[in-house]
């Protein structure tokens, strides 16, 4: 099925789109858009660390039979780390979800209602990873290695499903011209996934997120090296580097396919903002690959840091590109930066209050990170569910 057959014309579509919120925005739209991109990047980093981390978790359960094996150590720690990063993925996901509603709320609510039955399942499905990750951590004595591997696979599938929902929602948001059809048929997700570019986008999301697993293993190795001065953990870094290289190359392929599947009119309409995001993304992905290859060859610890920083830069390049792409798609229907379309009535008191709390929060987090970096080693691992 080609979704193009169901397009309605621009005038009809514009009439159909709900009005933007009548109260407008209590701040500058550019500032809110900046906060959206900033927090979306953070959310994306943690999402990739989680999805990629669970991928490594499954791999380590399959390959970590021997106690001297690196994967054996990994399988001991990954369920805990996966649980923590999942919590932060959800927590960091709140802010972009908030800021996107401030600018694109009327579009966002409409598509989520049109896909309601599927969309509403995401937070229920998100319970599955928690259940199975905690089972891996707390009940490992009760289950064999194969069962624990299956727990990891189920977790990974649940996360892929949640990604599917969000890719579908964000894609449907860009196509108001198809909403009438979705409304009449109420088959939102089936309709969107039949679009040929959907599958490339979805694959792209999956493979790019697995790079996060490589980064996670590299960082574990770096941290252990830094803290315990244990050179054995250099293996972690080189293994992580390999994951980064392999999945970055796959990411480049699917990134290209996704780009190729974009409408020619969209591609010809990119503004400077979108282009800069795209270039930063492409260059930083290539440099990430180079840095990870150098890490594998020369085994220099510092290359873990450069690879990680370049990876973060690539995520922000992608976040900017994606944001620009959204503006380009929606340009015929909605121009959020036009004050006549979305009124701006800054509430300076509450805005300044937010920035004060935000900056103070960064200091408190810095203080807690400092404590976390200097924690004494665990003398004896306890089962937190055991009676004392």
């Amino acid at each position: 099925m080609n979704i193009g057959y169901f397009w309605t014309d621009i005038a009809t579509t514009v009439a159909q789109i709900p009005n933007a919120d009548r109260f407008g925005v209590p701040g500058n739209v550019n500032l809110i858009n900046f906060l959206f991109v900033l927090t979306f990047g953070l959310h994306f980093i943690f999402m990739n660390l989680t999805v990629g981390g669970v991928f490594v978790n499954v791999l380590s359960h399959i390959m970590g039979k021997d106690e001297n094996n690196m994967f054996f150590k990994l399988k001991q720690i990954m369920p805990t780390i996966n649980g923590v990063t999942l919590s932060f993925t959800i927590t960091f996901g709140i802010a972009p979800l908030l800021f996107i509603q401030v600018i694109y709320g009327h579009l966002f609510y409409t598509v989520t209602i049109l896909m309601a039955y599927i969309y509403v399942t995401f937070f229920i499905v998100l319970l599955i990873p928690y259940i199975f990750l905690y089972s891996q951590k707390l009940l490992k004595k009760h289950f064999g290695s194969n069962v624990l591997t299956i727990f990891g696979i189920i977790t990974l599938i649940a996360l892929f499903f949640v990604m599917l929902i969000f890719v579908a929602v964000s894609m449907a948001m860009l196509h108001p011209e198809q909403w009438m059809f979705m409304h009449e048929e109420m088959k939102g997700i089936a309709f969107i996934v039949s679009d040929k570019s959907f599958i490339h986008r979805y694959h792209y999301m999956i493979f790019s997120s697995i790079i996060g697993g490589g980064i996670m293993v590299m960082l574990i190795g770096w941290f252990k090296n830094f803290k315990d001065n244990d050179e054995n953990y250099l293996k972690f870094q080189t293994f992580g580097g390999k994951v980064v290289v392999i999945f970055s190359v796959i990411q480049v392929i699917f990134g290209y396919l996704t780009y190729k599947s974009l409408d020619i009119l969209i591609k010809s309409d990119f503004n400077l903002y979108t282009k800069v995001g795209g270039y930063v993304f492409m260059v930083s992905v290539l440099l990430t690959i180079v840095s990870a290859v150098l890490l594998i060859i020369f085994k220099k610890k510092i290359l873990t840091i450069t690879t990680t920083l370049l990876y973060i830069l690539s995520i922000y390049g992608f976040a900017v590109f994606r944001d620009g792409l959204r503006h380009t798609y929606l340009r015929p229907y909605f121009k959020p930066f036009n004050k006549d379309v979305l009124t701006q009535s800054p509430d300076y008191g509450s805005m300044i209050f937010f920035f004060i709390v935000f900056i103070a929060g960064l200091f408190v987090i810095g203080y807690m990170i400092k404590i976390a970096m200097t924690l004494k080693p665990i003398e004896k691992e306890e089962n937190p569910l055991e009676r004392v």
Binding site: Y109, I113, V120, M351, F358, L375
Partner: protein, 438 residues
Amino acid sequence: MNYPIWDIPGIVGGIIIGMNAILHVFVSHMAVGLGLFIIFAEYKARKENNTAILKALKKTSFTGFLLFSFTIGALGGVGIWTTIGLVSPEATSMLIHNYVWGWAVEWVFFILEVFAGYLYFYSWDRVDDKTHRRIGFIYGASAWLSMVIINGILTFMLTRGGWEGNIGSNNFWLGFFNQTYWPSLLMRTIAALAIAAIVVSILSHIYLKDEEERASVIKYSGKFFYPMILMPVFFGWWFMVIPQRSRDYIIGVSPLMNLFFLVSIGLSIVVVFFAYIAMIRKPKEATLSSLIVIALITLGTILGAEFVREGVRKPFTIDETLYANQIYVKDAVNMRQKKESILLYSKWALTPYVTPENKLIAGHEIFKVECRMCHAVDGMNGIKGITKGWKVEHAEYVIENLNIIKEFMPVFVGTAEEKNALAEWIISLNKKDEKGGK
């Protein structure tokens, strides 16, 4: 009506939100209460070298924070946001736009809470006592401050304070510190402490082997129930400042609201009495099942109170601003004066006009726009059951005078033809059965 409608057969939107909210309210208050609890309890335990409390806190920090607050609690919060966006998009949008900086502040506190919660658990016996207490303080303060913020937004929905009907120009604070802000914050804090007390007692019962240690923790936890004595005072304060119509519902205009109010009051007395006996007077004899019963009664009290809080807002979702059916009061007043069409106002209605041929379809569309938020066709609060035996003329009269006959319902908006179409459609629901019966 700006948005399409998520029409789930037999169910009303409020129930979807409510099912999610039941658990979330309990877990989120537990998270706040535990935060305050650990600040006091760890200070006492370190000072007196009370190993029983320390053991209980260690176990609580895993089960209470990691297993419940950061999983079910966090997902429940996201779930509420998701469901209110699907069911009441206009209200959600209004609250997001008016309070974006408030939500953003709450998000910062939430991040601090999660970070501190994990660190608190993973740093047991791995940092010095003072540092550990400091981490506990960061957790407790962030959790409580997130409540301080959310309370302003929730209470704004019932009493909008000095809010001037627009955003900007300091309207945030005018609406935030509204009439019910302080009594609600105090009541929520007290409830959070009581929930924490019962949760710590249950976890101590599960995790502590030694009977003496267990009893000492339960007895100490029981003291966190004491502030409940002040609950009637703060409730009285809240009751005095809510709108007159809301007071009337509680006193008896709405029998359901009255019932839930009485149940909530009754259960709160019972729970304080039980908690005093089981946790303070006879902690050694407190069994796990008795503590679970106290927890369930506490949950029942909260449910009753939350139901009343939600219910007394009617007919508005946001005080004097937005009706429960997502139509702005200003629009409704204007449209009613000018007898304007509701179908033309509704972007997603299947038909913009009433004609003799499409009367029933149009009537159903009007029902979706104006009534579906609180009434299913046949099921929860089903319009079919409510209107059994009615005639078209009677239905039209009720629709026209809806807000007068039932104070907690919004005004009807629409033309005379639309009113008739809605009445005809409603009556048609029972006609099929009547024909079948004959």
